[in-house]
């Protein structure tokens, strides 16, 4: 064994085991190639094995977090000569590995039951791409030098690109994949430049060296802005969000779940690593920048989600909203940290971390549920769904849990992080900057508006898909998900409920991170009943009492109604104010549900509406909604690139003699330069 282990601190062995699991994922992926077209081998054997790996990762990361060990460091004998790969497991990476393992286990289980033969890429290739994707995300989180980080980051981008374009015969999907690839690479360049700035002339690319480097204020700010651009492009911060609504609907549902639930979180991880760990948040202006971008993204995502008519696009915009919320928390934490208010910084950072975990759970759950709906009905458009709660009770019930969670309703998990975030906003008036003091409460209002809009969006999502009457005759034949899919959905729903009623679990995990990053955790003495982030007099919330109270009242009310009154029921046709000829076409549509939003937030959209005239024989109503930013930013850039390419193409004469002339002139130029 010439493997050189370098473990510092207590001899914990979490890191080598984690690296072994990552290697095992790659092996699992490669194993599929033995029988490339056997769906049973790949789906029913390899994907569950991958899920087992996820569980192990979650377990290892969880015990590492709880035990509070010192970081483990390991230098791998891989990489370039004199540039080996460094890996490191600390609280921050432990938290994100926990998130990856928990959500990944559910997604892999679901994927085992999801993929069908004859859909796009061969099963074995899908399995390979999927597991490489999983492994590269884990490596991103464990990397301890810029080199390994960028290699894993690019592997992640490429493997997910192939997964997105697995149905590459459809032109729209190829286009979505191309857009994703461009955005991923623009982001990667920004991150690379950010690392380049951070090494500060020492040419040391380990994170340890960057942590110690002393940068001038200008360079530190440049690094943070570049990182914000790069990671923002991956996470979907407005205005770098354009790829999300295209790529998520294009990808198969487990892949959408992986990208939205997990990959976006690696960008959050990167941002936290750079801003809090490597650059130690020096200026409050960074916090304000992240806060503003985050709040705007959150509001933007919620508004656009409300007007979507494709269920996966709706969820993609909702991801933008949630990433915005997470960045809001990070921004607040940076603002507090730079103003030396450690405890409040810990509160805001906890909110961001817990929300990241929650989002990984409920967004994966909902994307997977749309996958089941898609398989059962072959429909992605909300206008052709409806009434599935009666045909698919399992998926509908589990999706209801996800819906209520993401809408931020107590006593489920989404509420916990939103509550913490609002609590941290309450302390902003104590900041030492008078002007910010006044503006930040408005941020809280924007946050409240976003949360309420999210509820609107989710009522639309759930109501149009699962409730009401089926909008198409074919929906009557829809079938429920198979048992592997149910297991995957159930695992994620269980996570939502557990974190909802026992938020102490998630807070403890997040506390380990804030303890290391900010050397402060929010009140360590939670009881099993109550969480009180600062003091119980200030604010407290008890999900258990909440749940117990509601359940008790519902139970007592039910029994009393049965005893004092009766339980007789007569099944009749729907009343609908006595109108007997109602059809499923008379229900409100997804477009209808978006109408108040289009009316109120009209300035956000570019709308093209085609209304039928009263005398039309076959009236058609068409509305096309576009992102204004697309025309304002992306099309001009595209045109600019095209123009530049046209200019450059003058050089490209297509004749060999001209190219030889160029070579000759270049040589001449170099000779002149040398002499």
């Amino acid at each position: 064994m010439n493997v050189h282990f370098l473990i510092s601190g207590w001899p914990g062995h979490a890191l080598p085991s984690l690296l072994l699991i990552i290697a095992a994922w790659v092996v699992i992926g490669l194993a599929g190639l033995l029988r490339p077209h056997s769906l049973r081998f790949v789906a029913h054997l390899l994907f569950p094995l991958g899920a087992l790996g996820c569980l192990c990762v979650a377990l290892l990361a969880g015990t590492f977090l709880v035990s509070g060990h010192e970081p483990e460091v390991l230098v791998l004998p891989l990489g370039l000569p004199d540039l080996p790969f460094h890996t490191r497991l600390d609280a921050l990476s432990g938290f994100f590995l926990l998130l990856l393992g928990l959500a990944g286990a559910g997604i892999s289980t679901f994927a085992a039951g999801y993929f069908r033969s004859g859909e796009g890429t061969a099963p074995a290739l899908l399995g390979l791409q999927y597991h490489v994707f999983l492994a590269s995300m884990a490596v991103v989180i464990l990397a301890d030098d810029a080199y390994l980080f960028m290699v894993a980051w690019e592997t992640m981008a490429l493997s997910s690109y192939f997964l997105v374009t697995s149905q590459h015969r459809i032109p729209d999907i190829r286009r979505a994949g191309f857009l994703y690839l461009i955005m991923a690479h623009v982001g990667a360049i920004c991150i690379l430049l950010s690392f380049g700035v951070m090494q500060g002339g020492s040419w040391q690319f380990t994170f340890d060296a960057m942590r110690g480097a002393s940068l001038a204020p200008v360079w530190a700010t440049t690094a943070i802005v570049l990182a914000l651009l790069g990671f923002g492009a991956k996470a979907g911060l407005v205005p770098m969000h354009v790829w999300l609504p295209e790529a998520h609907p294009a990808a198969p549902s487990p892949v959408s779940a992986m990208m939205s639930g997990l990959m976006l979180k690696t960008a959050i991880y990167g941002m936290l690593r750079i801003s809090f760990d490597l650059l130690h948040v020096r200026y409050w202006q960074w916090g304000v920048l992240m806060l503003a971008l985050g709040l705007f993204s959150a509001l933007f995502g919620a508004i656009f989600a409300a007007v979507q008519t494709d269920m996966k696009r709706l969820l993609a915009y909702s991801s933008i909203e949630n990433v915005g919320l997470i960045f809001t928390g990070i921004g607040l934490a940076a603002l507090f940290e730079a103003s030396n208010m450690r405890l409040f910084a810990a509160l805001a950072l906890t909110a961001a971390l817990v929300h990241a975990l929650n989002h990984a759970l409920f967004k994966s759950l909902l994307f997977l549920a749309t996958g089941s709906v898609l398989h059962a009905t072959k429909q992605r458009s909300l206008g052709k769904l409806g009434g599935l709660i009666r045909r698919m009770p399992w998926v509908a019930t589990l999706a209801l849990i996800g819906t209520l969670s993401i809408a931020g309703l107590p006593p489920l998990n989404g509420f916990v992080s939103e509550w913490l975030l609002l609590q941290s906003f309450l302390f902003t008036p104590q900041l030492p900057h008078a002007f910010i003091n006044m503006l930040v409460p408005l941020g809280a209002a924007a946050l409240a508006l976003t949360a309420a809009l999210a509820a609107y969006v989710m009522v639309k999502f759930y109501g149009v898909i699962f409730l009401g009457q089926p909008r198409e005759a074919s929906l009557v034949e829809a079938h429920d998900a198979n048992w592997l899919e149910r297991l995957g959905l159930g695992w994620l729903a269980l996570g939502c409920v557990l974190i909802g009623i026992l938020p102490q679990l998630a807070l403890k995990a997040a506390g380990a991170v804030t303890g290391k990053l900010l050397s402060e955790t929010i009140s360590p003495g939670f009881s099993i009943w109550l969480i009180a982030p600062v003091t119980p007099e200030h604010a407290s919330y008890s999900a258990l009492i909440f749940l117990a109270g509601i359940t008790a009242v519902i139970g007592i009310a039910f029994v009393l109604v049965r005893i004092l009154a009766h339980g007789r029921i007569r099944r009749t046709a729907a009343w609908d104010c006595g109108y007997p000829w109602q059809t499923s076409r008379m229900q409100d549509t997804a477009e209808g549900f978006g109408q108040p939003i289009r009316h109120i937030f009209g300035t956000f959209f570019r709308m093209e509406r085609h209304l039928p005239s009263p005398s039309d024989k076959s009236p058609h109503y068409r509305i096309h909604i576009e992102d204004k930013l697309w025309r304002a930013i992306y099309l001009p850039i595209g045109r600019g690139v095209q123009r530049l390419a046209d200019v450059v193409s003058v050089l490209q004469g297509g004749r060999l003699s001209i190219y030889l002339l160029y070579s000759f002139l270049t040589l001449l130029g170099l000779l002149v330069f040398v002499l």
């Binding site: 509420f415 509550w419 209002a445 008890s542």
Partner: protein, 318 residues
Amino acid sequence: MRGITFVRQFGEVVLAIAIAPLFAGWIAQCRAWMQNRSAPSLVQPYRMLRKLFQKDAALAKNASPLFRTTPYVLFGTMVLAAAIIPSLATDLPFARAADAIALIGLFATARVFVSLAAMDIGTAFGTLGARREMMIGFLAEPALLMVLFNAFLLSGSTALPSLVEFYNAHRFLIDPSLAFAAIAFVMVLLAENARIPIDNPTTHLELTMIHEAMLLEYSARHLALVEWASSLKLFNYACIGFALFIPWGIAAGGRNGSAATLLAIAALMGKLAVAGAALALIESLSAKLRIFRAPEYLATAFLLAVLGLLVHLQIGAR
């Protein structure tokens, strides 16, 4: 001692459940008087509930379990809210289970459930009502939060009992920011409880309905529970208003003798009587707004609350 506090908590909740329909009846009576109509009896809501509980429930054929559970969930959330809001005393066990933000979350839960149930049958009016209800909800929530922010800035706490304790300790403190917040709160209260000028609780015109449109498919005991929950919601909002702006009389600071409790009950009744009459007056004096004026109305409430906030910060900064 613990046992006694639980008994008092139970008593508070039972009182809330019992008098919530009375409050609704009182408002209806005042409204009738102000509009020169002959008023229904004060106990009319109770008669209504009794009649509904006796009837057989007619349920649409395609109603899902969600539709049938929702009335119980609504009732449950509103009763829990009544337990959390310190309407009579501050040292009750449920009061610490949730602060004001969690209370907003609880109301949001009720709203989402009733909207989902309204979409369940798949009728035109139900979904229309659900859409409108959610719209009013997302407009009202930021305004309500800003109102609460005002109160938090004064007392430094989001727990309602702490707020009440704070006011009782600083009895003569009158902060100008609270005046703005109070007006904003009343506006939000009207919108959230489906009153004029946003919605008309007594309308029979389906196209203008918001809240009632969602309940069209409910009948008998389900409808009774939903109606009861609605009156509880109004009662709860009134009690939040009392706790935020006129907390006098609520037994605070460990005073939990029978005299303090009786005083608290008397104070609550008096405040409810005045508030009910005031609500009826507002409703009689204003006309229902078109649905697309609702954003303007709620934006006004929001701006008033923000104004209060700025006033407070200005005074505090000085």
